[in-house]
């Protein structure tokens, strides 16, 4: 029976289950909440099955339609996509339980089908090995994210959603033009086939530039992050958590996948630029976050800053020694957990006080202990204090930067950590003080507080599980991973 369980096609189920769930929600709106929760828990189990299958017999490859790579489309999952899938499932589960109590019935009917289709789009994106299929999955993710951002119908949400839609369409078209050039240069859109056929000529360089620009715009890398704060700050709390934790990681994952498989060998110049923009993102994002007076805008600018850390992978020549995939996945996972916890905590504070002005938090710590604890624990991981996963990720980055003599990046990382501490403690400081104008407070359901707290605790616990995560991505690098573990315990 166990073997039967093993060779079930879990990858296909992680995509088909949320699709079927989404369609069930559309067909039967009254049942959208239970159907949503069942689908999300089903996805978590399916991904566990996929993880088990990958541990047993290596990378997972499934030829859709039975035609095989160059003609048909392949689903492919290795350690990197598995960790991203686990991230999507766990953060998605936490957000789903939060959303169960957050939305009014009429909003819930609209939230659940779009959220399930977004979850299916993310799973399809992390499992796809075909660059045109990635374009269609990117469009799916973009449209679903925009529809969710505009759910409340307020002016700032609509403005943010409109700007986000135009930015994401521009990013997708730039990426698509890159796909066109690659297809006509190498005659295939399958990543594995492309890897063997392309060599650095004018068309491939232009495709690299276009795809990097398009995906950087969708990941809101610093100069192209104009659209992120208004969209993430004005969306409803669970949607902001989804956007910051999962949706921008999707385009980051595609850029990383293209880098590892196709462009890594000959793209030093562009990786320097990406590193530079990443460093600038850290500084600019953190400084902007310090200046904000509203929690959700502060957390949104913190996302722009933390994205900078993710892009420091490129200049640190990690691609050559194989640490890039595991480092990026780990940092993305830790940021996803911490950032979703922060946004959910901000949502609780907004529901509690009716506003999210930092200055009037008015003794939130006495009245909402769990939420402020969640915000604090998530802040610990964002700042990068031990024992959190943020610390382990940033420590490994710092270690790599210093071992390669990149003192400039090391200094930027440290300043980024200090600035992060600045804006986290600014919020926590106000949470402890008495605000001048006391105002009535509405009760916040327990599930919503526990959802935020559990995600924050997850961000901390991930710090302890660093060796397992690294072992998942690079079984052969196990020794290096345990050394990473020892580094932390030392």
């Amino acid at each position: 029976m166990l073997i039967g369980l093993l060779n079930i096609d879990w990858g296909v189920i992680t995509i088909m289950l949320p699709l079927a769930g989404g369609i069930a929600c559309v067909l039967w709106p009254a049942m959208s909440k239970p159907a949503g929760l069942i689908s999300v828990t089903g996805v978590v189990l399916a991904i566990a099955g996929l993880g088990w299958r990958i541990m047993e017999n290596g990378t997972y490859r499934h030829a859709v339609g039975g035609w095989g790579a160059p003609l048909g489309i392949d689903l492919f999952a290795d350690g990197l996509s598995l960790v991203m899938l686990i991230m999507t499932a766990l953060v998605g589960l936490g957000i789903s339980f939060y959303a169960k109590r957050f939305f009014s019935p009429c909003d819930a009917v609209r939230f659940w089908p779009i959220w399930l289709l977004l979850l299916a789009a993310l799973n399809a994106l992390f499992l796809s090995a075909d660059i045109f299929n990635l374009y269609v999955a990117l469009e799916m993710t973009g449209l679903a994210a925009v529809a969710l951002t505009a759910l409340t119908g307020r002016i700032d949400a609509l403005g943010g959603a409109m700007r986000y839609l135009l930015a994401t369409l521009l990013g997708s078209l730039a990426y698509l033009l890159g796909v066109v050039l690659l297809y006509h240069d190498a005659g295939s859109v399958d990543i594995a086939t492309l890897a063997q056929r392309i060599e650095p000529n004018a068309a491939v360089w232009t495709a690299l530039g276009l795809m990097s620009a398009g995906l950087a715009l969708k990941t809101a890398l610093f100069p192209l992050s104009f659209w992120l704060p208004p969209a993430h700050a004005s969306a409803p709390a669970p949607v902001s958590a989804l956007l910051s934790a999962l949706v921008i990681k999707a385009s980051f994952y595609i850029l990383l996948r293209l880098w590892l498989e196709l462009f890594g060998a000959f793209a030093e110049g562009v990786s320097m630029l990406l590193g530079l923009l990443g460093a600038a993102a850290i500084l600019w994002g953190s400084l902007q976050a310090l200046r904000q007076t509203r929690i959700k805008l502060l957390v949104a600018y913190s996302t722009v800053a933390q994205i900078g850390y993710l892009f420091l992978i490129y200049p640190l020549a990690l691609v050559s020694n194989g640490m890039a995939a595991s480092m990026a996945a780990y940092l993305a996972f830790s940021h996803a957990l911490a950032k979703s916890a922060m946004f959910l905590a901000a949502g609780n504070l907004m529901q509690f006080g009716g506003h999210d002005r930092i200055a009037d938090l008015d003794r939130a710590v006495q009245r909402l202990p769990l939420t402020v604890a969640a915000f604090a624990l998530a802040g610990v991981s964002i700042m990068g204090l031990p024992p959190s996963s943020g610390f382990v990720g940033k420590w490994l980055l710092l270690d790599a930067a210093m071992s390669q003599g990149r003192w400039d990046l090391a200094v930027v990382m440290i300043i980024g950590g200090l600035l992060a501490a600045g804006y986290i403690f600014k919020v926590l400081g106000y949470a402890f003080t008495q605000a001048e104008v006391p105002h009535d407070a509405r009760a916040v359901p327990a599930e919503m507080e526990w959802a935020a707290l559990l995600l924050a605790i997850g961000a901390i616990l991930l710090g302890f599980m660093a060796p397992q995560i690294f072992a998942l991505i690079h079984p052969d690098l196990a020794v290096n991973a345990s050394e990473a573990g020892t580094v932390w315990t030392a």
């Binding site: 096609d9 296909v12 088909m16 699709l19 079927a20 989404g22 369609i23 559309v26 067909l27 709106p29 009254a30 499934h62 030829a63 859709v64 339609g65 039975g66 035609w67 160059p70 003609l71 048909g72 489309i73 689903l75 019935p105 009429c106 009917v109 609209r110 089908p113 779009i114 289709l117 299916a120 789009a121 399809a124 045109f132 299929n133 269609v136 999955a137 469009e139 799916m140 449209l143 679903a144 925009v146 529809a147 505009a150 759910l151 119908g153 033009l177 050039l181 297809y183 006509h184 240069d185 005659g187 295939s188 000529n201 004018a202 068309a203 360089w205 232009t206 495709a207 530039g209 276009l210």
Partner: protein, 332 residues
Amino acid sequence: MDGIIFLQWAFDAVLGLGLLWLAWRALNSSDLFKAIVLFIAFGLLMALAWVRLNASDVALAEAAIGAGLTGALLLAALARLETMTDQNVSGVSAHPAHPPSPTPAGSRFSRGLLILLLSASTAGMGYAVWSLPSYSTGLSMDVAAHLDSSGVSNPVTAVLLNFRSYDTLLEMIVLLLAVLGVWSLDGLPPQPEKPPATVLETLSRFLTPVFILVAAYLLWVGADAPGGAFQAGSVLGATGVLLLLSGWRPRARLMQWPLRLALTTGAGAFILLGLLTLLLEKQLLAYPVAQAGRMILLLESLATVSIAATLAILFLSVSSGHKMKTGKEEKE
């Protein structure tokens, strides 16, 4: 013989320049209504470009969607925009509404920088395209090799519905997402329209059966000639648009679960068939060769219904959407 070559080159040159000129005028015209009419003309020329590039399937899709829906959608959106912002958006006027934003001094420099950057990237992309080998067959050899076991003889339908059917599944979901997104904004407007003028009544009354016949023909011919689900769905959608324009509104009862069923039937069929083939053939969407043709036809007909319903509802929501929510969703 060289006479024809010259004429063909002249045709392509005029078409290419016409496309660029139309796009430039449409995007920088002083008045929004003129911009939309130029954009509709641009869509017409695009269909000609596809024809000149031997892409009859794409020309059919562009014709059905471009002429049938995009033009009507933009005109309806402009009309609602004008009533909402009660500015003079369309028609002739001394000071054209929404002139392209005047360039203050500071941004003239940034405008120049932008032009410089764009022309550099144009040159880069142009060189990249020009450096591509002048003869390459891409995947056409693979498609031709497997065409006989794909169940249809039209290569484009074989790619869309069999070789890359996973893309088509995701794309049906994109259509569903668009409807869900538009519904979550405004709800479905059951707005009663005035009975149309007699001529419009006869126009829609006569054209509707012809539309449905042509859509069925396109769906059927799709197996071995340009046609197929998307083109047929778009023509059927255009029928819905014409009926909606001439004042017809589906009965409220029809707008509840029957509409939802129509919207999701395409994607649902793909998922069910996919899981079925996963069980039987061990591969997602791997049709057994014997029944491939029938399965593709089933998928295409359900997809046609879904695409038509989606496009019609998108037009209805955009063209006459207002604060009214759909009745059923509000009750529970």
